[in-house]
């Protein structure tokens, strides 16, 4: 039995050694950060690898703040964030790669077809709790809000001049698909999510609908034209001197050669 123990321990040690020895990083780019941006960069990375044999692009997900932290510490060559840089992050340089619009969604069975900013504000602060007060059915409103720290929440709060503690939510969610699923399963729910994702899901038959904001229809086209009031940039961030490879990758990610990939992730490419 002891012999077997040592056999196992030895193989474990060998594994560790193998792992340490096999790290060659000459042609490797590491990207970490926002989960919203990660799937897009994964695809861009694959195309970049195909065009530049021998290069490896490793994309790790984990949130905007991790993108900032890893770009600062040098753990990642490039950070990914789903918002603009904050004033205390001006040691970093942002490179926009796409835009994401945020729209209000309701269940498709809800007869309400538009809400004013004041009404949305009243719903989110708990002054209106039933759809009847807005001319809808006599059902309770389920307010769906995002978790603290999410950039969509920041955007939403900023637009409506609210503090998060003023919002009276019934459900708090993380990412967009959770919001869409929550609204699809609850006829009385209201939420705000990425317009591209909602447009796609609605077209697939998911029972949700996007509401116009301030009279502007929530469509990808309007976001692209800059007409829609709620949108955020998706950025790559770097610190200080950038390697030639990283620079080439950023240029590639901002170029027209990846617009189809951006659209495949239901995001809006930068207007050219």
């Amino acid at each position: 039995m002891t012999v077997n123990f040592w056999k196992y321990m030895a193989s474990l040690a060998v594994l560790l050694l193998l792992a340490c020895g096999a790290r060659a990083e000459n042609h490797k780019l590491v990207l970490t950060g926002s989960s919203t941006v990660a799937p897009l960069l994964l695809e861009i990375g694959k195309r970049f690898e195909k065009q530049n044999p021998g290069v490896r692009v490793d994309v790790q997900s984990g949130g905007s703040s991790r993108g900032v932290a890893d770009a600062r510490s040098g753990l990642a060559d490039i950070g990914m964030i789903s918002r603009a840089l904050k004033p205390d992050e001006n040691d970093l340089v942002a490179h926009s790669i796409a835009i994401d619009g945020i729209g209000i969604i309701l269940h498709r069975g809800n007869p309400i077809s538009s809400l004013s900013d004041e009404q949305i504000k009243a719903i989110y602060t708990g002054q209106i709790t039933r759809w009847k007060e807005l001319g809808g059915k006599d059902t309770r409103i389920t307010v769906v809000n995002k978790a603290e720290g999410r950039s969509t929440l920041d955007l939403f709060l900023h637009h409506f001049a609210l503090k998060n503690s003023e919002i009276k939510a019934q459900v708090v969610i993380g990412d967009n698909p959770q919001g869409i699923k929550t609204v699809a399963g609850n006829p009385g729910a209201i939420s705000y999510v990425s317009i591209g994702a909602a447009e796609y899901e609605a077209a697939q038959g998911t029972p949700i609908k996007l509401l116009p904001m301030a009279g502007v229809a929530a469509t990808v086209a309007n976001v692209r034209a800059g007409r829609f009031p709620l949108s955020r940039p998706l950025n790559l961030v770097t610190k200080g001197e950038v390697t030639v490879l990283a620079q080439r990758f950023i240029e590639f990610a901002r170029s027209g050669a990846v617009h189809d990939l951006v659209e495949n992730q239901f995001l809006v490419p930068l207007a050219r």
Binding site: M1, T2, F5, S35, G62, G63, S64, S65, R66, V68, A69, T139, R140, T142, A147, E148, G149, R150, S151, K163, N164, S165, A169, Q170, V171, V172, I173, G174, Q178, K181, T182, G185, N186, P187, G188, A189
Partner: protein, 292 residues
């Protein structure tokens, strides 16, 4: 159960080397906990240092970006969800184990055990997905908003039930057959044998399984995050949304910086301490029942 230290066998050469080796392995396993705790403390230190911890209990509400760090509502929610789940899962799981050991034919028992093992292996995100797309809309039709403490309890129960059932099966199988035959010979009914002999004899194993399951219920993240609603408030009713500590960490960690991040580590530490208290409590109770 344990051999006496004075056993002549321990003079054997191989044995003398075996014991310390095993002890080192066991200590190493236990050391992982220390490593985890040290690391949590280090990361949470900016908040814990300088009476920051008082704010976890004193502050009203959890709005870290506005400087309010009240964790108490989430502690209650965590306890409510875990105990609700274990209250349902313990009797059901034990019943399933009894079914496997005493009622099902050998073939059916094997099939049923396989099913339980399968259930234990379904990823929590699948339970969450199922809860979010099937259970939450069902409950929402009856008691909106659907995403609630109740839904969290149901999903957690399904997730921890296999743990209770499988450990109970192992414990029941380990009860000496002679004991059961003896009871049968005394003319006890099947119910009498099960409740009077088998389950009491297996109680240490069953209890251990329930403990493991409670720990899992307290620590479960993804599934609860998807179905509990995640609103930070005291659990006032079964159909009200709540946020548990783990969901709080998972929801916000990726986006947190500075004090916010440190306070999330502190809530992880608090959760670990909660489990520590429960485990030592359970060890004491378990010790008593075993001595009786």
């Amino acid at each position: 159960m344990t051999w006496l230290k004075t056993s002549s066998l321990s003079r054997w050469h191989a044995d003398r080397r075996l014991a310390p080796l095993l002890a080192v392995l066991a200590a190493g396993a236990a050391l992982i906990l220390l490593l985890v705790l040290v690391f949590l403390l280090r990361e949470a230190w900016p908040v814990l240092n300088g009476n920051g911890w008082q704010r976890f209990f004193g502050d009203d509400g959890w709005y870290p970006l506005e400087g309010r760090f009240g964790l108490l509502a989430m502690v209650w929610a965590t306890l409510a969800a875990a105990f609700g789940a274990i209250l349902l899962a313990a009797p059901l799981g034990l019943a399933c184990a009894v079914f496997v050991c005493f009622y099902a034919s050998p073939g059916l028992a094997k099939l049923y055990r396989m099913m339980l093992a399968l259930l234990a292996g379904i990823p929590s995100v699948v339970f969450g997905l199922w809860g979010l797309t099937v259970l939450v809309p069902l409950i929402a039709r009856w008691q909106p908003p659907g995403a609630s403490l109740f839904c969290a309890i149901l999903i957690l129960m399904l997730m921890i039930l296999p743990t209770v059932a499988l450990t109970s099966v192992a414990a029941l199988n380990a009860v000496p057959k002679s004991l059961l035959h003896g009871a049968a010979a005394l003319g006890l009914t099947r119910k009498g044998i099960i409740l009077g002999v088998a389950v009491p004899a297996a109680r240490a194993g069953v209890f251990g399984g329930i403990l493991l399951a409670t720990a899992r219920a307290l620590g479960e993240t993804m599934a609860v995050l998807m179905v509990a609603g995640n609103v930070v408030q005291n659990p006032s009713g079964l159909f009200e949304p709540v946020r548990v500590l783990t969901a709080n960490i998972a929801l916000e960690m990726a986006y947190a910086t500075g004090t916010h991040r440190a306070s999330l580590f502190a809530s992880g530490l608090m959760l670990t301490l909660l489990v520590l208290v429960l485990a030592s409590l359970a060890a004491r109770i378990g010790g008593h029942t075993r001595n009786v």
